[in-house]
Amino acid sequence: MDSIIEKYQLFIDLLPLLMTGLWMTFKVSMFAIIIGSLLGFFLGILRTLNNKIITNIIGLYLHIFRGTPYLVQLYLIYFVLPSFDVEFLKFDSFTAAIVSLSLYTSSYVTEIVTAAINAVPKGQSEGARSVGMSKIQSLYHIVVPQALKLSIPPMSGVYVIIIKSTALLSVIGISELTRQGENAILRLPGNLMFIYFVIALMYFIYCYPVLRFSAWAEKRYGSIGVDPE
């Protein structure tokens, strides 16, 4: 009983530190999901326009980001890009985190958006064209709104991946949840396991509802056969 009270007290003591970490995790993941989705949305639409050169370039981009671990991408963007003598590429830790995570997000989103647009029945855009809409108009008014609905379930899956990937940012010294937990462990090394459990629990509380939402959305809006998770 005493040890439970003791752990509870410890938990209360640690909470402010871990909450600042969770807030950082939330901030970084939000930035990344918004910027990455916009970029991915744009690339995904470009990819459905059937221009061979554009499709190939985007394909190469996707292969590079899907073919290497995020940890390697993080090291490249954090350590290597600055060595090209370009002012624009000299990121500090936080910017490097956002940039790398956004690019990583966009590689998933591009694939989802392409699949979602292709999943909208061809007849829809043909119909739109036949009533005199331009290609852009039919995309904007007819295809994209439906594709967006279809992409909700896999997009929530991507969000979970991104939240979990932020844990790696501790390696470059961003004080997000994992890093703050490590800082706490340095002060209280005897409670290493307990602190890691608390961190895991906090990630769980953040991710689990999103996963449930994803499952619910898939029942509601249907699957397009892309499951990033």
Binding site: P82, D92, S93, V171, N183, I185, R187, P189
Partner: protein, 264 residues
């Protein structure tokens, strides 16, 4: 018409080229012009650079740089990087100076140039008290595992001086090495006395083993072309050495754990 566009483009290109190469300003000129001295420090490396309990970045290197910036009358900008990120940050011009406890090794000198030694580190080994080691020499045996920060001079020293033990390199830094020792993953860790003092005073299970493995000079570093700044740093070091201010800071941060009462 076409020709004139080409000519304008050429002119723009040449101006851009000249302004970046021929008239490139020295690091010191940049500091004078912008009024900012930018240093790169390690994210978590008490007591050299760390975030204290009040959430403020402080430490031995930060205070030294602050002192110099104050005397120069410029603003100090502190940027923190992971240990492995310090040299790339300096080379790419994100920072003017690396203010860290870095050993001027031959390999590092091929990339950057170090100031005169500002302080010295004693490389030591630490272990859990119940392991029963007394000296670091006890570690140099088959079947013993030691840990050190990846890309640090400690791992080089371990490889050389404790060659019979198995070396495990932790990319997360001293913090992870300490965690691994506490969890029983490795028998001992290699680090320096001042860095480990912070851990042993808060965790009674950890002890520093007898004997100093090596002694190493530690200095700040600049880009090879920042000669003016390098001389300025060297002379400033001698200045504060003789007026006693360097000694005070070293005593407070490096040779004692006085700082812990104020910052931990």
């Amino acid at each position: 018409m076409k020709f004139s566009i080409l000519k304008t483009a050429l002119a723009v290109f040449i101006t851009a080229f000249i302004s970046t190469s021929a008239f490139a300003e020295s690091t010191m000129e940049k500091i004078v012009k912008t009024g900012k001295l930018t240093i790169a420090v390690q994210t978590q490396g008490p007591p050299v650079s760390f975030v204290n309990k009040a959430g403020k970045r402080t430490g031995f290197a930060v205070e030294l740089a602050q002192m110099m910036a104050d005397d120069m009358g410029v603003e100090l900008v502190v940027q923190d990087y992971d240990w492995k990120g310090l040299i790339p940050a300096l080379i790419s011009g994100k920072a003017d100076v690396i203010a860290a406890d870095m050993t001027p090794t031959a390999k590092r000198h091929m990339q950057i140039v170090f100031t005169e030694p500002v302080f010295f580190s004693e490389t030591i080994a630490f272990a859990k008290a119940d392991k029963g080691f007394s000296s670091w020499k006890d570690l140099n045996k088959d079947g013993i595992s030691v840990g050190a920060t990846q890309a640090s001079s400690w791992s080089d020293i371990a490889r050389k001086m404790i060659s019979n033990a198995k070396l495990k390199e932790y990319s997360g830094g001293t913090a992870q090495t300490v965690q691994a020792v506490v969890a029983g993953r490795i028998d001992a860790g290699i680090s320096d006395r001042a860095t480990i003092a912070a851990f042993t005073s808060s965790n009674k299970d950890l002890v520093v083993l007898d004997g100093q493995i090596t002694k190493e000079p530690l200095g700040f570093a600049v880009r090879p072309d920042s000669l003016h700044l390098l001389h300025a740093l060297n002379n400033y070091k001698r200045l504060i050495e003789l007026d006693g201010r360097l000694g005070q800071k070293i005593q407070y941060w490096w040779n004692s754990t006085d700082w812990q009462a104020d910052h931990n």
